[in-house]
Symmetry: C2
Subunit: 140 residues, 2 copies
């Protein structure tokens, strides 16, 4: 397995609060995103905070997918890190769409690279408030 990988960092804002507090929804969503990307899930751990908030991690044979949510702030932070050269564009768009994120800061980092990188932010917003109408974001 190559040491080089792709790490997509997502800060999603103005999400659907109910979804952000629904542990089953979030676990199913993350599993779908990982499986759609062809990942093997080694382990899944999701935790419900009280009075609200969920934190979860999928341990993958090719690294991990994590989510931490703050329903009261309509904010979710996600990390999707996989070694190899999988294209994560579709699963990242799925995550943003299903969380109904109206705005997101997306960073893409090449892991396992021995030279310093300058990391730019890909800011995405949607002017359509209907669920699932985020602009697509490329993770390349």
């Amino acid at each position: 397995m190559t040491i080089e990988g792709k790490h997509i960092i997502i800060d999603g804002f103005e999400c659907d609060s109910l979804h952000l507090n629904n542990i089953a929804f979030l676990e199913n969503l993350c599993k779908k995103a990982a499986l759609d990307a062809g990942m093997e899930i080694l382990y899944s751990y999701f935790h419900q905070f009280q009075p609200q908030g969920v934190t979860g991690v999928l341990v993958l044979s090719t690294s991990h997918l994590s989510i931490h949510t703050w329903p009261e702030e309509r904010y979710a932070s996600l990390d999707f890190y996989t070694c190899g050269d999988s294209d994560l564009t579709a699963p990242v768009n799925l995550l943003l769409k299903e969380l109904s994120a109206q705005k997101a800061m997306v960073y893409s980092i090449d892991r396992g690279v021995t030279q310093p990188q300058l990391i730019y932010c890909n800011e995405i917003t949607t002017t359509d408030n209907s669920k699932g109408e985020n602009k697509n974001v490329s993770t390349d």
Copy 2:
């Protein structure tokens, strides 16, 4: 709990191969780094690959600490993400020291921020090959 947090991304090169394949060593090291930083560990999952390599995640009440290792390449990728304003400099230096990383690319990302950031790399190297003599790295 504030949505703002600090995410330290570490790509460690020229590490100690034996340590990178020692699941008990790595789990204990990660737990020590997290506890030293005042974190609460909700769950720990570490997996030993065959013929070599370890992947592990600590789920924290304040996000997560993950490690993925490639002993054959002397490479370890780590993520230490915590909400709040904890100073992660000491635990990050502990991780690099105990893995005997001779070179590392370290990125620090402020999570939960609604404005785009430009992320710079903090490259660290050590000319001293003895264990634990890495230059210190600030995560501020």
